[in-house]
């Protein structure tokens, strides 16, 4: 058994090493082509933005090392996109400089790929972002990219994922195949930051167990299409989980008058191999959108299911004005142990769009735990000014948080953020 296992591992490793080599070779060739083709018939488009952000926390921090001072930061996105004779080349980098947290000061290549269309098939090699799903309160079926969790806890920012992706267009829908040769471990905020998951800081190291490794070749398959008023998607993923299910506690034994005591020093995120099947559907009828996403995942302890579903109703031209008011209600269920965020939570939200030339918008949302009524409130207002600028004001409030709720470690992290962004 052990020998077989070893042989299998060797074979897998061989396959992965050669896939990785091929990936690098293709990617470098593509990059070389990109630069050489810049001289050929091609069309390039560059854009960038830079932003300043100030965040003020209104409550005293929960953990010793966390800062009470305002958190200031600068962030920027640079994009380059080229249509050439040799295909399309795209590049996008995101970077942030943070006044409080070294880990939040980070740079990530969100996109760096070559893409070419061959009749009914699109081929993409490189780093990219992929989005699946329909729901607003949680992106449950979306699994290709790892959440960039140092950015924010809302799961709307993702790390670039290296991939080879084939999209096949048929009369009955789109079939996408993904080979994902590297795992991107989720980054966690440092010990001085707010939004820490535990009193003990999370280590920058990742631990891979049960056959998982950083260079394990993960695979994904997706089918998506629309039938009349229905938009549907089905997906399957095999590979290294994008989010750690557990943390290994590391620490040292300290001698106390009462005898030796284990003192935890850091948490190491643990990644394992998972299989996940996902379904998503949306029914669009006039002013109502009905949405549902569901997954079944095995590999992280007991096999479990999770779902998010609900509706979005829009009142167009509210009271004969140009404004639209959207109302969202979604229910989240997660069958993991009860210590999971969104295990049994109701999300209600509203979106007010002015539909003016400045694209003024207000979003307000609340997650309420159906069992203990722990509530997370969030509001976001944004507006364009002087054409090249946008300003946004965000506020987050944790109310009535139950001590046993996993969200309790964020309970002191109420904030108000003002950010101003300039687009080139």
């Amino acid at each position: 058994m052990r020998v077989n296992g070893f042989r299998h591992a060797r074979l897998t490793t061989f396959f992965q090493v050669s896939f990785r080599a091929a990936f690098i070779a293709t990617f470098l060739t593509a990059l070389t082509c990109a630069f050489s083709s810049a001289a050929l018939a091609s069309e390039w488009d560059a854009s960038a933005s830079i932003a300043a952000e100030a965040r003020v926390y209104t409550k005293q921090a929960a953990f010793d090392q966390q800062e009470d001072e305002p958190q200031l930061s600068l962030f920027s996105t640079i994009e380059l996109d080229g249509d050439t004779e040799l295909g399309r080349f795209a590049f996008e980098a995101f970077g942030r400089l943070d006044s409080v947290d070294d880990r939040r000061t980070h740079l990530d290549i969100r996109e760096a790929f070559w893409q070419q269309d061959y009749a009914d098939v699109d081929v993409l090699v490189g780093v990219n972002k992929v989005f699946w799903g329909v729901a607003e309160s949680r992106h449950l079926v979306n699994i290709i990219n790892t959440v960039d969790a140092v950015e924010y806890i809302d799961g709307e920012d993702f790390l670039g994922q290296p991939m080879v992706n084939l999209d096949w267009y048929t009369d009955v829908g789109k079939v996408s195949v993904f080979a994902l040769p590297w795992h991107r471990a989720q980054p966690f905020v440092g010990e001085k930051s707010r939004f820490r998951v535990a009193p003990v800081p999370v280590s920058n190291e990742a631990q891979y167990i049960d056959g998982a490794s950083e260079d394990y070749l993960s695979l994904a398959l997706r089918y998506s299409h629309y039938f009349g008023d229905w938009d549907v998607g089905a997906s399957f993923f095999h590979g290294v989980s994008r989010d750690p299910s557990t943390f290994e506690v590391q620490g040292a034994v300290a001698q106390t008058p009462d005898g030796p005591v284990f003192v935890p020093e850091s948490l190491v995120p643990v990644y394992e191999l998972i299989n996940q099947a996902g379904l998503d559907a949306q029914l669009t009828t006039d002013d109502w959108l009905y949405k549902v996403e569901a997954i079944v995942r095995e590999g992280q302890g007991d096999t479990f299911a999770a779902t998010v579903g609900g509706f979005e109703y829009t009142l167009y031209q509210l009271f004969d004005s140009d404004k639209d008011l959207g109302l969202i209600l979604e229910y989240n269920y997660d069958g993991r142990d009860p210590d999971t965020v969104l295990n049994n939570d109701v999300f209600s939200g509203l979106r007010l769009a002015w539909n003016d030339t400045q694209s003024t918008e207000l979003l307000v949302g609340a997650f309420v735990d159906a069992k203990d009524a722990s509530t997370v409130l969030r509001a976001e207002a944004s507006r364009r000014f002087f054409e090249h600028w946008t300003a946004s004001l965000e506020a987050q409030l944790f109310a009535n948080i139950d001590q046993d709720n996993v969200i309790d470690s964020f309970a002191q992290d109420d904030f108000v953020t003002l950010s101003v962004e300039y687009y080139f």
Partner: protein, 263 residues
């Protein structure tokens, strides 16, 4: 008796002629609209860049840049397909909207948000809402489909020295912001020169003037469209660049699945 019969006959005759003329104004209106629609039949596909200038009551202006790709419907009873991409303002650059126009049903519409790379099916029932903060409603901006209206010929007139037919049209699709639209279609090339839009209270809301018509092969395209809102004093000018009638677009370029792979 004879007099009575004559009176009855006259009454019958006038009724007949009245209904005949009522039928003919509707028929005439439809035929003019049909001629106008047929002049654009079989254009294949087009691509055009345009600048939209939004002007408020005080005269302050902001500009928006768009690219529109359009695919002509294949068979009668089908609608056109269009892909509108926003090139400015910069914070929404790359956002695009795909529309499959349906004659019988409500249109299929998807929005592509490049920041998240998310494709979102949206409701197309928002006909009368403003398009990008402009004076054009979504329904004004959609490509014209003959069977989405009923018609009535009103008479003849002149617009900018051109002889025109005046044809009223009444939206048959739900959620329109208009009770009627008065179109002015020139008698020579049968192109729309002006449209007056009447809101749900039958008050004059907006006037669209279409100018700078140019001929591409057998197809006419207006290059300056100005919409003036009489009730707010705001206006929007859409200034079109040169049309490309051979952009090499196919059905596949207007598929939902292609949106996330588009530039």
């Amino acid at each position: 008796m004879k007099i009575l019969i004559t009176a009855a006959l006259v009454a019958t005759l006038s009724l007949t002629s009245m209904s005949a003329s009522a039928q003919s104004t509707e028929q005439r209106g439809f035929e003019i609209a049909q001629q106008n629609s047929e002049s654009n039949e079989g254009f294949g596909s087009t691509q055009v860049d345009l600048t939209m200038i939004l002007r408020n009551k005080a005269g302050n202006e902001v500009a928006r840049e768009l690219t529109i790709q359009t695919l002509d419907h294949k068979a009668p009873g089908e609608g056109d397909k269009s892909l509108t991409t926003f090139n400015s303002p910069k914070d929404v650059e790359g956002t695009s909207m795909l529309t499959h126009i349906k004659i019988e049903d409500s249109d299929d519409q998807w929005l592509y948000l490049p920041k998240l790379k998310r494709v979102k099916r949206i409701s197309s029932s928002n006909k009368s809402g403003p398009f990008m903060g402009s004076e054009f409603a979504f329904e004004d901006f959609a490509s014209f489909e003959l069977d989405k209206f009923t018609y009535k010929y009103i008479g003849d007139d002149t617009v900018d020295g051109l002889a025109v037919y005046v044809v009223e049209r009444y939206p048959t699709y739900g959620k329109s912001g208009y009770v009627r639209q008065v179109t002015y279609i020139d008698t020579k090339d049968v192109q729309t020169r002006k449209v007056d839009y009447y809101d749900r209270k039958n008050a004059l809301l907006k006037t669209l003037t279409l100018k700078d018509y140019r001929l591409y092969g057998e197809f006419w395209r207006a290059h300056t469209l100005e919409m003036v809102n009489h009730q707010t004093g705001k206006s929007t000018v859409m200034s079109y660049g040169e049309y490309d009638f051979e952009p090499g677009l196919t059905e596949g370029d207007f598929e939902k699945g292609k949106l996330s792979n588009a530039r």
